[in-house]
């Protein structure tokens, strides 16, 4: 290909990415996977929600940089990972609360917090598969697609992660 031809081809692909996916579709298709990844990399559920939204806002504004629409999921996951790194890097110091505020925390909320704490203690390679697995409604193929690994690899990581999670949760009690 000559330089201009390849340039045209790339332009065509760029236009495709913006035309082929609407922001709404992007959210509907990939929001759960992105949230799962954010949960895996943060220690607070509210932060994961915020990061997930930041990821989509960033993705929509940078949709032109997506050259291959078949790689949308991987592209989004990469943005999410970077956002999580940014979150740890530039996290503003939390303002201390000078007095006690009684916040009604439900049993469910406590349970989620305990689980999130346990997940954050898992080794690096185990966190993503396990959060994605449960958030996708126990669907191994979708986890494999999201992480770009084989289903067998997902299964073996899941089993180890789940055993480790059991150990952490048992210690916690």
């Amino acid at each position: 290909l000559t330089k201009t031809e390849s340039g045209n081809k790339r332009k065509g692909k760029d236009a495709n990415a913006r035309n082929a996916i609407t922001p709404q579709e992007l959210v509907r298709k990939y929001a759960s996977a992105v949230l799962g990844l954010c949960i895996a990399h943060t220690k607070n559920f509210h932060d994961s929600e915020d990061i997930m939204q930041d990821v989509f806002i960033k993705a929509i504004s940078k949709l032109d940089t997506l050259r291959d629409t078949n790689r949308t999921r991987a592209w989004l996951m990469q943005i999410a990972r970077r956002k999580c790194i940014d979150y740890h890097r530039s996290r503003p110091e939390a303002m201390p609360i000078s007095e006690d505020i009684e916040a009604p925390v439900s049993e469910k909320e406590k349970q989620i917090r305990r689980l999130h704490d346990a997940i954050s203690k898992l080794p690096d390679g185990y966190r993503e598969p396990i959060t994605l697995y449960y958030l996708s409604g126990q669907n191994c193929p979708s986890v494999a697609k999201a992480l770009g690994i084989s289903e067998d690899a997902v299964r073996s990581r899941l089993v180890r992660a789940r055993l480790k999670l059991h150990e952490i949760l048992s210690e916690d009690i």
Partner: protein, 292 residues
């Protein structure tokens, strides 16, 4: 069969069984073993009970995820509508113009400079201390985004919180909406600024006598505006001493509720503030601009 070593090897298989990812044939065999082996049955029972609570916790998370999704989609819809409306009005695609402008590094810095000026104006206006302001934090969004919109919250000891909303639309064009409804628009490239107060419109409509007030406000030079503002702030010398700037970026977690926490998007978007009685109150923020 029931020796300890073998059962240790079965731990992963039991976990896979609980997760529901074990082959049917292996699962049947393992089930038979579990019925006869006490230690494996114990592990299976523990994992099974845990699994239920994990799934129910993730179910709650998934429900919240759906809420978030619809809120995000709603915001994108809104963004698209405003973009279409704007395009119809101007007959051009503003987005494209913006992309061209922001590709140029010089204009990027011009935009950053506009923000600095905007922030400086606020500093002059309220006489706050410059050191307490994180300039990098204020400037960074402009380098990333096509438009910048941010809120500045000013707090002083006895005075109510002064909220103002900033919108920087193109290099040097800044619009500031104060909490009392006053709108300041400044063009730092042409050195012009105008201040509009919706409340002052009333006498004009009713045919008020004061000609000075009724006359439409003329744009003034930025220097004059700053001077005027400085003059005004001098009069409030008494209480502006203990004014402090809150950073435009506020901790994200609602757990870290201090004097005020702001969530930008989502169903709980708003400014969380303490009332006199100590309770927390959510004040909604103006709708955010979302790239469409």
């Amino acid at each position: 069969m029931n020796n300890k070593g073998n059962c240790q090897n079965r731990r992963e298989a039991i976990t896979a069984l609980v997760l529901g990812i074990l082959d049917t044939k292996d699962a049947d065999e393992l089930q038979r073993h579990i019925e006869s082996c006490q230690s494996c049955r114990k592990l299976y029972q523990e994992l099974f009970n845990e699994e239920e609570s994990i799934r129910s916790a993730f179910k709650v998370i998934a429900e919240r995820d759906e809420m978030l999704q619809s809120s995000l989609i709603e915001q994108f819809d809104k963004g698209e509508q405003t973009a279409v409306k704007r395009n119809k009005e101007t007959g051009k695609t503003i987005k494209l113009i913006w992309r061209t402008i922001m590709k140029n590094p010089i204009t990027k810095f011009a935009a950053a400079a506009a923000i600095i000026i905007a922030v400086l104006t606020v500093v002059f206006q309220f006489g706050g201390s410059m050191e307490s302001l994180a300039f990098a934090e204020a400037v960074r969004p402009v380098l990333d985004a096509r438009t910048a919109s941010f809120d500045v919250a000013l707090e002083s000891g006895n005075q109510p919180v002064q909220m103002s909303h900033f919108l920087c639309m193109s290099p040097g064009l800044v619009r500031q909406t104060m909490s009392d409804g006053t709108i300041n628009i400044a063009d730092y490239q042409q050195n012009k600024a105008i201040s509009l107060n919706p409340k002052e419109k009333m006498p004009e409509r009713n045919g008020g006598k004061n000609g000075e007030q009724n006359r439409r406000r003329q744009p003034v030079a930025v220097g004059d505006l700053e001077r005027n503002n400085r003059h005004e702030s001098d009069q409030r010398h008494v209480w502006r001493q203990d004014l402090s700037f809150r950073q435009t970026r506020i901790p994200r977690s609602t757990r870290s509720v201090g004097r005020g926490v702001r969530r930008r998007y989502g169903p709980h978007a708003g400014h969380l503030r303490r009332t006199d009685r100590g309770a927390l109150e959510l004040h909604p923020l103006p709708a955010q601009k979302v790239p469409g």
